[in-house]
Symmetry: C2
Subunit: 333 residues, 2 copies
DNA sequence: TTGTACGCGTTATCAC
DNA sequence: GTGATAACGCGTACAA
């Protein structure tokens, strides 16, 4: 079943069928109706492979993410897919894990599939060493690269980020201004976003005349049990803290578990702030005050920017979206 | 950069280049090396669109799911993608929502993209009325349809399901045997899986000589706040229950919140069992005993079955995977 | 307004 | 072991 069958049954040429198919106005109403009728009768569907070959596009975008089962990334992928589809683009998903070699391998794989663009979802795709990002910058010569919550400078590379630094600055400041003096900072990675968050925390302490001490900044696997255990052990080692600020909700959940386990009252004795405002923040008792990093806005903006790139509009290479602090029961403000 | 360029530079015909590309043994070692060298020098990558047109496949599978941000489905999609990719297949994601018309529309869309198979992830794709599933059964004449945790009978349709009925039967039985007499059943939908779960609950009561009463079976939006509020209102209306069995972890989280809010002691006064053993079950205090529906096994089995279908092996049209009860702190066994 | 003919880059079927 | 050539199905100049 192809365009020739349709043309034959309708008694017109394939060019006319193609015109009808693509809404070309240079077809008489009568012919159009005849062709549409035949298409319907034959149950004709254009062959996307042939179309792709001719136009050199299948209207498909590659989405890379380290782990789509992570609540934050799962949401991002959901919004990206929905948004892309509303623009008639398909999304090929590719979960890469965290290994640089694997990321590069999958990146090349997607390129070989001739996707129209690659979206790197999450902050795990920008490496510390510049040379490790060269493969992205090089590829951008051939197709647009979109970063969701990551920043990389380069021609044809577009970043949409949440203002993590400001978000953390604000959160830490509110903690300080509500009387907290010893804020423990818990983070899980040194990504672009991770570093910004930490800077926000440090800046807030500085601005308020507090000193930043290394033992109040702790790295922890992004896992609630790991976070709980780390806090338990720090507490037993005698570390004093009256607030925990975390780079991810899962770490904050661990903090709530720690407090509940030790009979520490929240927020009277300990305040806790999470990040991402995911489902997790609403699971615990008390529910967690969390920074909303605006995933949906981040994703739709990314897709809108990409559509701008496709249509040749001049779009910003970097868009920053402000976050919100969602106040719940783990803080006293 | 195409096969002609390579053939020209290597001084061979395109047929030979194609043979080298596809590992055809009828090429002399010398020629092969020469061609490979040229390919490397020119940075040649075969055009997947052209290949797709010729072979009528792009090695792509469509994955449909109602909402990929749901923790359970997000995990499923992760495992499906990973497993498909390990077999050199791409995954096109399509989030459909819950509306039947939309599901049908996207189903046809994926078919028009000529994917090699469609995976329906989650139990939301089998409708109560048989005629509403006709579109799936019809499509199966042309491509394999795989259901993950849903069952539909039909030629070229393959289902991989968790034994929800047995899982619920076991969970309810354990509650009864540990002294519970009034088990409230909370569910969110009438899907294939949803009905099986409910049957398991009812069967367990019957087997243990307890009567099933309608007011102990409550439907609730799949949302923890909705669940908490429903239980609060039931409680205040005077309904007595000593256990809550739920069709989803989010409902169980709501039950924990309800108990914590009312000062009801878990598990002494109230036992709670969730479903899916998702992240959510580990967020609360106390952590929730939950039925592990074995998503990973479900997904890898689905993909393995699909590969069997592709290779013409005789595969079962239905595979059932046993679940596990993961005991935590909301039950006293 | 409509039709012809070619290009897109493969794979596969022949001949040699 | 290798090469010429025909599909594959569409879009689109260009011609009519």
């Amino acid at each position: 079943m192809n365009i020739y069958d349709v043309s034959e049954h309708a008694g017109v040429s394939i060019a006319t069928v193609s015109r009808v198919l693509n809404g070309n106005p240079n077809v008489s109403e009568k012919t159009r109706e005849k062709v549409l009728k035949v298409m319907d009768e034959l149950g004709y569907t254009p062959n996307v492979f042939a179309r792709g070959l001719g136009l050199d596009t299948m209207q498909t975008i590659g989405i890379m993410c380290s782990d789509s089962s992570d609540p934050y990334l799962a949401e991002a992928i959901y919004y990206l897919e929905r948004s892309l589809r509303s623009h008639d683009y398909d999304a090929i998903l590719c979960c890469t894990g965290y290994d640089l070699d694997a990321k590069q391998k999958y990146f090349e794989l997607l390129r070989s599939k001739r996707v129209d663009a690659i979206i790197l979802a999450g902050s795990k795709f920008v490496e510390m060493r510049a040379k490790d990002n060269a493969y992205i910058i090089d590829a951008a010569a051939e197709l647009p690269i979109m970063l969701v919550n990551g920043y990389l400078e380069g021609e044809n590379i577009y970043s949409t980020v949440c203002d993590d630094r400001a978000a953390m600055y604000q959160a830490a400041s509110q903690l300080i201004e509500s009387g907290h003096k010893r804020i423990l900072y818990l983070y899980s990675s040194y990504s672009y976003s991770g570093l910004n968050k930490m800077d926000g925390y440090k800046d807030a302490l500085h601005s308020h005349g507090l000193s930043v001490s290394d033992n109040m900044i702790c790295q922890c696997t992004k896992d609630m049990e790991a976070s709980r255990d780390l806090l338990l052990s720090l507490h037993r080692q005698g570390l004093i803290f009256d607030a925990v600020l975390t780079s991810d909700d899962s770490l904050a959940v661990g903090a709530v578990k720690y407090a509940n386990a030790e009979g520490i009252s929240i927020p009277d004795e300990l305040s806790i702030i999470g990040y991402n405002n995911s489902l997790l923040a609403r699971c615990t008792d008390p529910e967690i005050t969390s920074i909303d990093s605006k995933v949906e806005a981040l994703c739709t903006t990314t897709v809108n920017t990409l559509m701008g790139v496709f249509s040749g509009v001049n779009v910003p290479s970097r868009t920053t979206i402000a976050s919100d602090l969602i106040k719940r029961k783990t803080t006293n403000f």
